[in-house]
């Protein structure tokens, strides 16, 4: 440390005079241990960060929001688009308040929302159970990788929404057909995440477990699954998004009494403000599910540095 320091000082005292008065200043610096005031001052300087990067998160988010609403308001009040196609922000907001009140007072929308919530929860639970089991089968056994994975990939490339009429035909117009479609869409990312997670354990860790004489089950439970948790949670997050899409698509195509049905009815009556506000409440549900998965991940995979969101705070 002290070595580096002295060489550092030496080179700096040799360089500084070069920019100012040559010769004389150099000898002065060499003779006098603490040189004249400006030479001895701390070199404190301010790093330049551009204005746009210094704006706090809350302010920049609010700014974008205001601009967006402003453009929206402008395009409707100037008559650029028909109010039937795009309602004003005010109308939409008023409808959001109406829907909010209806939900809070236990009006007819609350049971509809509850039905959709149930479809999402059951669908996600089913997707996790099936997806995790298949993921372990594919990721842990050679048989699974050779015999099961190709079929999974084949099914995954199909447009899964197209299966909705089949589910309705098999399971009826009730909640079951929606749960099935939601689970169907969410299962594949969980399979892939689990299988990828099991493959993520590095060679050293495998070798170490081998030297410790660990059984296959011990290796799976004590090493492969924990080290694969980040990938498994990535699969769960993608699945959480898919399960919402599946439930709503199921309601669009298979009727029922859920929130998707409310949207469909509102849209058929050209009640666009209602469609917008229902979508907003629906996205809150999706956000809640996603946040639940993320919060669980933070608790369970506590050693993983958070790189998903908010890394710039």
């Amino acid at each position: 440390m002290s070595d580096a320091n002295t060489t550092g000082e030496g080179s700096s005292s040799a360089k500084t005079p070069a920019s100012g008065v040559p010769g004389i200043a150099a000898t002065a610096a060499a003779v006098i241990p603490v040189p004249s005031s400006d030479h001895g001052a701390d070199t404190v300087w301010v790093e330049q960060i551009s204005f746009i990067d210094r704006v706090p998160r809350a302010v920049s988010m609010a700014f974008v929001f205001v601009v967006f609403i402003g453009l929206w308001q402008l395009s409707t009040s100037l008559g650029l688009v028909s109010p039937i196609i795009l309602p004003t922000p005010g109308e939409t907001f008023a409808d959001m308040v109406f829907v909010g009140k209806n939900l809070l007072s236990g009006g007819y929308m609350l049971p509809a929302l509850w039905i959709t919530v149930k479809e999402v929860i059951y669908g996600f639970a089913l997707a996790i159970a099936i997806g995790f089991s298949l993921g372990v089968l594919v990721g842990e056994t050679v048989f699974g990788e050779r015999a099961i994975m190709p079929y999974l990939v084949a099914i995954d490339t199909m447009p899964k929404v197209a299966f909705a009429p089949l589910f309705v035909a098999w399971l009826g117009f009730g909640i079951e057909s929606k749960v099935a479609l939601a689970a169907f869409i969410a299962t594949f990312p969980i399979v892939v995440g689990t299988a990828a997670g099991l493959h993520a354990a590095d060679e050293n860790a495998r070798m170490l477990f081998k030297t410790m004489g660990a059984s296959r089950l011990q290796t799976l439970i004590k090493m492969k699954l924990p080290s694969g948790l980040p990938q498994i949670f990535t699969g769960l997050k993608i699945g959480a998004v898919g399960v919402m899409a599946g439930a709503i698509t199921g309601e669009f195509l298979g009727g029922g009494k859920g929130f998707g049905e409310l949207i469909r009815v509102a849209a058929s009556q050209l009640q666009t403000p209602r469609v917008f506000s229902l979508i907003l409440y629906l996205s809150l549900l999706g956000l809640a599910l996603y946040a639940l998965v993320t919060a669980t991940q933070r608790r369970v995979v506590f050693w993983q540095k958070d790189t998903v969101m908010g890394s710039h705070d």
Binding site: L208, T211, M212, G213, F302
Partner: protein, 275 residues
């Protein structure tokens, strides 16, 4: 795994304060041919490790030293030959073999001490692992990591992590330590320090150590015997004995004897390249 009957003809194995010098680990005409591509990775290797000795194997990439170490550790079977540790043939991973790799490989979801008692947890279950904690604490003190027992590995530096992995290797009280370039991922200062630490630990415990390394200097400063290997096919070329006194110190690097030994080994390795 266990073959107690074969031990009858061998000298009795008493653990602990056994005299140094008695053979612990014997390899006879060990060879390995990978069936898939008919590559001869290792040909006719015979060596004997005596209790308390420190040996190194050195050679260029592809000379089969990793294959040799894996065979000795019971991780892969040899194609030919005999591998005997403490009178019992090695037919799989064993408790009396301790191993250490280039990467510390501590698991981030376990605290340092939980990582150290992991081999006990795997073999004897959680209850035994809990009992081994006391012993793990003592080992932490040996490597200078007191107070880090309940810290997660993310908070350890590279050198500290390797110290912890030394503890994990020692917790089962192995008869032989197989070291696969254990400190080559560390910076040079830490590496020298860890090498001296390793020597101290081996001397205190009368441990038998076998080190795979790329560094001639590291091999010379640590070893009693250096096995020089040559590639294609991987085989033992020469055994070089280092008669520097113990304990070795880093000052010895500047002695003429150290220099001539290093030069001699380098000469052997260069010849190996030309072949």
């Amino acid at each position: 795994m266990s073959a107690p009957a074969t031990a009858a003809s061998e000298p009795t194995i008493t653990a602990g304060e056994a005299p140094t010098g008695e053979p612990v680990y014997q390899l006879g005409n060990v060879g390995k041919t990978y069936a898939r591509n008919e590559v001869v990775a290792l040909e006719d290797v015979s060596l004997t490790l005596n209790r308390g000795s420190f040996s190194s194997v050195i050679g260029s990439s592809g000379c089969g030293k990793s294959t040799l170490l894996k065979i000795m550790a019971g991780l892969i079977p040899p194609s030919t030959g005999r591998v005997v540790l403490q009178g019992r043939p090695v037919t799989g991973p064993r408790r009396d073999i301790g191993m250490m790799f280039q990467q510390a490989t501590l698991f981030p979801w376990k605290t340092t001490i939980e990582n150290i008692v992991l081999p006990i947890e795997i073999r004897d279950g959680r209850a035994a692992a809990a009992k081994a904690r006391e012993q793990a604490q003592e080992l932490l003190a040996v490597v200078g990591l007191e107070g880090f027992a309940d810290v997660y590995p993310n908070e350890l530096s590279g050198g500290m992590a390797q110290r912890a992995s030394i503890c994990r290797m020692l917790i089962t009280e192995p008869a032989v330590l197989l070291l696969d370039e254990p400190f080559s991922a560390l910076d040079e200062l830490s590496r020298d320090m860890m090498n001296m630490e390793l020597q101290r630990i081996c001397m205190e415990r009368h441990a038998t150590a076998f080190l795979v390394t790329h560094s001639i200097a590291e091999a010379v400063i640590l070893s009693d015997d250096i096995y020089v290997m040559k590639p294609r096919p991987g085989r033992l070329a020469e055994i070089v004995s280092v008669d520097l006194p113990r304990p070795r110190t880093l000052d010895m690097i500047t002695t003429p004897k150290f220099g001539t030994t290093v030069d001699y080994i380098r000469g052997l390795l260069d010849k190996g390249e030309a072949l």
